[in-house]
Subunit: 221 residues, 4 copies
DNA sequence: GATGAATGAGAATTCATTCAT
DNA sequence: GATGAATGAATTCTCATTCAT
């Protein structure tokens, strides 16, 4: 009952791409990692890009299918939102290298296939934005819902950048922290716009900084 | 009053790395982009890694220095937190490719230099966590503050993944959306833990999904 | 019945290294010389250093194995010494470029592999020093034997610097000149020519050895 | 009382060539080793080849001039031969990297300059062959004298391959070992030690010669 | 005399891919 | 299906040399 070679390759590829990036992963190393000859590889995937495409599209398929199936069990908005968060967190907690590939290599695919991944991503985003909308104050304009959804995805996507179960506890605990922040914020009270305006005004003189310090640098050699 | 060649190179490199990743950027293309021969390049930076290091370390230096100088103007916790957010958003709104490099290529550097970048990153994180802590309910355990700070950075770091001023309005508006989410959450009321537990229990049968769908796939060719 | 590609490469490499030194030989030129593309090369040897190592270690292996097998046929010290000289001269007379590589590029290898070559060299030297010792006056201190052995190797190793069969006669004549110098010096009695002829006759069946052992080699990668 | 920059460069170059071969020495590293900029280098030598030529031709000039001056002091053949050996050994004992360059890079120069070095080498060889001839049995054919002289040079040239004063004693001791081998061989009477001591005493005033003639040189360009 | 900067050529090596077996 | 061998193109980086200052 081995996993299929195809699946085995996909897993190894995800790990390699996560570790070194799409360009940093080579077919050779991939072949070595799976104990196959480089040439054998092309019996399963016609090109390096095809491997990446398979990872990304199939991962989104799984993610979306699971989310949909889970949401069928809940009616109340906050429950549904949490179910979505929990699904996302659990998936990525156990497959963080896939997460990396999904996020970091979003632009590595060329147009024809890139579009197909984007479609899946959009479906997933749309689902999330509906859930976000349903818990926000009635009448919130869509533009605000959209931006807020992106922010929520920021929280969810950044997990791979820091989360370590040994250090930060089980995935469900992480999901709760996230849900707490997303639902009630840090203070359970939205910061007053007047305060925000005050700060902005105070900083109005602060021009956008130089991209990079452009002063004297010690010469090389 | 030209920018120094060194600075010009750094900017072009940041753009290239952002677009294709560190491994996807080649010294050749970089040289072409700055109108120099490949060999000339090595008069300014001794290696490709040195270019990446310069971008990352100098960007963090600028970011941290600015944040510190801004915070000197405010006393109230929420004001200070917003000043931090605003500084971050403004910097990256105008230099989104630098942001990408900072985030996506965090692991591309080898140990000696990687540590130096990590130090700077830690200083920046520590500053943020103090601000987060100061607006959270008194007595929140540090572990929770830490995780929450990471979540906040998720929101801040993901900006480059979606933010487009033309579509989503000026940076200051984005900063407000973020600050609203972070301070008051979506509903200005933390979701009840009982509800969370209910959902978790309901999903307890849902094993971690296969990394990638492992079914039959149409054969290639 | 072609020679193996591996062996063909090794021969061409020895010629190139002899002509231009290790640093002066380029993989490009080597590839051209063997009618292969540069990249194809790396199917046989993983690096330039590996090529040099193969030449040096395999040449010493052949040389040492032959010397040992020859010495088994003689008992008298002077005969044994001459057999050693003759073996050395014949080998290098027919493969002078290998000799050059052995001598001129002794320091081109990096520590791990360099040590392995040094071990072989030491075994060969030790064998020679025993023979030298056995013909020197009884009681000669080892320090003197050692230095004298080095001097004998000086004579033997320098052959490639000047010897041209067309101009200086057959290898066996060269071996005699060397043996005369070594045994009796410039001004004294030399080894009896009858003895020399005896040894030569005994070795007449020993064809010039393969430049480099051309047997089975462990495959790379 | 600094050495001239020219001479300093020549010394550093000899060391570098000895260590890494002519192709392995780069003008850059040479410049670094002498604390100059690469460009400054070309104020002293018009090309890399010119550096090598200067080392080789000047070294031979010094060697030959010294040998000639020494030989003027002796009449007896064996004394004269030993004086030649002693001069050679002393020179190279103190300047082993020059010796390496002379021997290992004999073919690195292109035809026009290579011939000039060869001329000097021939003069040196001819001198030696006369000395060798004068101690060999009357009537030895020139072909045999020539081959024997090459063998003697083998002994002399190989010194750099093994001689270490710490381990093998002072240069004069080495010269004796060589002279013993050359005169009486391994098994026969050697040159009387009293004779050797006489020559050494006679040359005691002859300090180790400058590595390379450090006089006025015609300016380049 | 000195030097920072420039550069075409070439170094070793790796790449994704193909193909005969 | 598997694979050893082949390869053109690209990789990072170094080379000797030049030249304006």
């Amino acid at each position: 009952m081995h996993p299929s070679p195809r699946s085995e390759i996909l897993h190894a590829a995800a790990r390699a791409v996560a570790a070194h990036g799409f360009h940093g992963m080579s077919m050779r190393k991939l072949a070595q990692a799976t104990g196959r000859s480089t040439a054998s590889f092309y019996n399963y995937f016609p090109s390096k890009e095809a491997v990446l495409f398979a990872i990304q599209s199939e991962a989104f398929d799984v993610l979306l299918a699971r989310a949909r199936s889970l949401l069928g069990r809940f009616v109340e908005p906050e429950e549904r939102l949490y179910a979505f968060v929990l699904n996302h967190v659990r998936y990525f907690a156990s497959h963080d290298h896939v997460m990396r590939v999904l996020i970091q290599e979003a632009t590595a695919l060329a147009p024809p296939q890139r579009g197909l991944v984007r479609e899946r991503k959009l479906a997933y985003f749309t689902l999330a934005s509906e859930l976000v909308s349903s818990v926000m104050p009635e009448g919130t304009p869509y533009a605000e819902v959209e931006k807020t959804t992106y922010c929520v995805f920021g929280v969810l996507n950044w997990i791979y950048g820091w989360y370590d179960p040994e250090q930060h506890g089980a995935p469900d605990g992480l999901a709760r922290t996230i849900m707490h922040l997303v639902s009630g914020g840090l203070v359970e009270r939205r910061t007053d716009d007047a305060l925000l305006a005050r700060v902005e005004a105070e900083l109005s003189d602060h021009a956008a900084p130089a991209l990079i310090a452009d002063g004297e640098q010690e010469p090389i050699r």
